[in-house]
């Protein structure tokens, strides 16, 4: 009995929530901007660090979405569909930008935490004990549910130089294959490793200082 009443209830509430189809189509752009504009903008801004350019890219994303709209079905995935378009636009941008100026940023952290390693003697380039990595809480994974943790993560990655942060985001956050990144950014594989290594090193240190040290008490 319950099974009978449920679909009926579900259908009627759905029908009430969703306007008739033609109206939906016409109001799409407005609804898109209202529902997804801020998210897409923040996303683009975090990658580009340039509000004007980020705004342009969101605009382009919506325009491309409008053109490709017919091929899209199923509104639950609308946001990820739009993010997908935006990601492609970002890749196009990186491709273009890397052809104009070199993407490699080797200046950053050239010392690679050299101040934390023993400068000479038998144990040269070993961690200075007092400055080595601290013990993190036994379950750092618990932090992943904390909004504050992700804010710290965001702040720390914002401190990375722009190009290093871009490499980190593409590889570690988006999971793009390293070969693909090298081709996109026009950098050698070795440069990619070095930039990634420095990004990870700086991020680890920043999170330790600003999150895990306080967490661990």
């Amino acid at each position: 009995m319950d099974t009978e009443s449920k679909p009926a209830g579900g259908e009627s509430s759905l029908a009430a929530a969703a306007p008739p189809l033609p109206t939906v189509k016409l109001s799409d752009p407005e609804r898109w901007v209202e529902q997804h504009g801020d998210y897409l903008f923040r996303y683009a801004l975090s990658r580009l660090r340039d509000p004007a350019r980020a705004e342009d890219m969101v605009q382009e994303t919506f325009l491309a979405a409008l053109k490709g709209g017919e091929s899209f079905e199923g509104r639950s995935a609308e946001k990820s569909w739009l993010v997908g378009i935006l990601k492609n636009k970002l890749c196009d941008y990186y491709r273009k930008a890397s052809r104009e100026t070199s993407f490699t940023d080797m200046e950053f952290y050239s010392g690679e935490e050299s101040d934390r390693f023993i400068p000479d003697g038998l144990f040269k380039d070993g961690w200075i004990h007092e400055l080595g990595p601290l013990e993190w809480p036994s379950d750092p994974g618990a932090s992943l549910d904390s909004q504050e943790f992700w804010k710290t993560f965001h702040d720390c990655s914002s401190k990375l130089p722009k190009n290093v942060a871009a490499v980190f985001s593409l590889r570690e956050v988006d999971g793009v294959e390293s070969k693909e990144i090298c081709a996109m950014l026009n950098i050698s594989e070795n440069n990619l490793w070095v930039m990634l290594h420095r990004a990870l090193m700086a991020l680890r240190r920043c999170l330790e200082t600003n999150w895990f040290r306080n967490e661990g008490g």
Binding site: P29, Y39, D174, L196
Partner: protein, 104 residues
């Protein structure tokens, strides 16, 4: 126990001399996240961890970051960064509506 101290020290020095130093270990740790390292290198890293709690921690923490990073996107929604201004939204809607009219 004091008796064993010199032996312990000699063992540590031996391992230290036969494994990558900590600066190199940190580079290898980053690299190992991206691609499998040669067996020989992995063995040396294991050996190094026996004498170095810092490198062991470092590697563990790096693996944590590597695992956590993809989840960043799911949490980007609530970041305190500002969103689009009202004017920017207005501009976008207008351009989209024009584009829509042209195409239909």
């Amino acid at each position: 126990m004091k008796l064993f101290e010199p032996i312990k020290r000699r063992a540590i020095v031996w391992v230290w001399k036969h494994t990558p130093n900590c600066a190199d270990m940190s580079r290898l740790a980053s690299r190992s996240l991206e691609q499998p390292l040669p067996l020989r290198t992995r063995f040396k890293m294991r050996l190094h961890y026996l004498i170095c709690v810092w490198c062991k921690r470092y590697f563990k923490q790096l693996k944590f970051l590597h695992k956590a990073a993809p989840q960043f996107e799911d949490h980007a929604d609530t970041l305190p960064d500002r969103g689009l201004s009202a004017e920017a939204k207005q501009r976008m809607v207008q351009r989209l509506q024009t584009a829509e009219k042209k195409s239909s």
